[in-house]
């Protein structure tokens, strides 16, 4: 039984693409056949986060328009032979694809993959409607900030209006030190306000920047966010893993000043 999952947020810059790359990598690591689809037409990014930008020949619009076969456009990951990326088109815009075509595309992919992950563009216009059209399930990514949570609430309303199956929350960039001193909303506060089930919380972690620089997702590595992403993937596969918010991995200087402040 394959499943199509859309990763969305409303607001830009909260970590949709990073989350898509890391969940895709994690599910592949756990043995699943995974297709990652970048649906942000005109602003292609998932290829760079995955480190596959040099291998693109065809893209999503080429597949939809019939310029190539699906197999020609799918790029195989560097590390996992069961992980593929369908990149977005950089020189077209969102009107190049419609929701019916996206439903057809995801249906076709279901034959060969266990999980199809759609990285949704920011906003609530056609790009969003395209991305959610073929999805069975949605993951809403937010950060503990007023603007991101407000947009997430709007997105949740739109997903419910479209009868999206399961809608779950990922709270990204949590800083436990700031939550502890009362200068950041806690994961519980965010859950209480958005009133949807939590799938996981990711700490604000310097390793993410390093991983994006290198184009290598960090799921499963010995980093706070790497472990949090792996836990999310295991929960998606039905494992019952309690949700904790690990301390973020930060640089030596900030850890030292943090220590001195506590002392």
């Amino acid at each position: 039984m394959s499943e199509v999952i859309v990763i969305t947020s409303g607001k830009g810059g909260v970590g949709k693409t990073t989350t898509s790359a890391n969940i895709g990598t994690g599910l592949a690591m756990l043995g699943m056949r995974v297709a990652l689809i970048d649906t942000d037409i005109g602003l292609r990014n998932l290829d760079v986060v995955m480190g596959l930008e040099n291998r693109i020949v065809y893209n999503l619009v080429d597949v939809v328009e019939g310029n190539c076969r699906m197999k020609q456009a799918l790029i195989r990951d560097k590390r996992y032979p069961n992980l593929y990326l369908l990149p977005s088109a950089q020189t077209r815009d969102k009107s190049a694809v419609n929701p019916e075509q996206m439903i057809k595309l995801t249906e076709d992919l279901k034959e060969d993959f266990d999980y199809i992950l759609l990285d949704c563009p920011a906003g609530i216009e056609q790009g969003f409607r395209n991305a959610i059209a073929g999805a069975d399930r949605a993951l809403v990514v937010t950060t503990p900030e007023v603007s991101a949570i407000r947009d997430a609430d709007r997105i949740i309303g739109l997903l419910e209006a479209k009868d999206m199956g399961q809608v779950q929350l990922i709270v990204n960039r949590v800083r436990t030190d700031m939550v502890r001193r009362g200068d950041m909303m806690s994961v519980d506060d965010v859950m209480d306000i958005l009133a949807i089930p939590l799938l996981g919380a990711i700490p604000d972690d310097e390793s993410i920047v390093v991983s994006t620089n290198q184009g290598e997702p960090l799921t499963g590595t010995d980093t706070p966010s790497g472990q949090a992403y792996l836990d999310i993937c295991k929960r998606l596969l039905g494992e019952d893993i309690p949700i904790t918010v690990p301390e973020g991995g930060r640089g030596f200087i900030s850890r030292l000043t943090g220590f001195l402040k506590r002392a």
């Binding site: 007023v146 200068d183 806690s186 306000i193």
Partner: protein, 96 residues
């Protein structure tokens, strides 16, 4: 170091939480916090014609409540207006 407590009189996480709750109600109902303030002012002035009440104790908000007609939930305006304890003794409810 930047001291959030000094600026807002409250920890900024709590400030964010309260702002967000008001904001979401406003987004969903097309009814701004100022609009609720106006309703609250008018309710206060009407009720204070009959009873001794304190402006600071009056609370007006939006919530969801079970509909009288069926099992559905409907949006509702609620007002909590504490009155002088000497007026009523014992526990009872009276509704009109």
């Amino acid at each position: 170091m930047y001291r959030s407590r000094r600026v807002f009189g409250n920890r900024s996480g709590e400030v964010a939480r309260k702002r967000l709750k008001l904001l979401l109600v406003a987004d969903k109902t097309n009814c701004s916090p100022e609009f609720l303030e106006m309703i609250k002012d008018d309710i206060f002035s009407v009720v204070s014609k009959y009873l001794e009440i304190d402006r600071g104790d009056v609370e007006v908000g939006l919530t969801r409540t079970a509909s009288c007609k069926g099992s559905d939930y409907v949006p509702a305006l609620y007002a909590s207006i504490p009155i002088d304890g000497r007026l009523l003794r014992g526990n009872f409810n009276a509704v009109i």
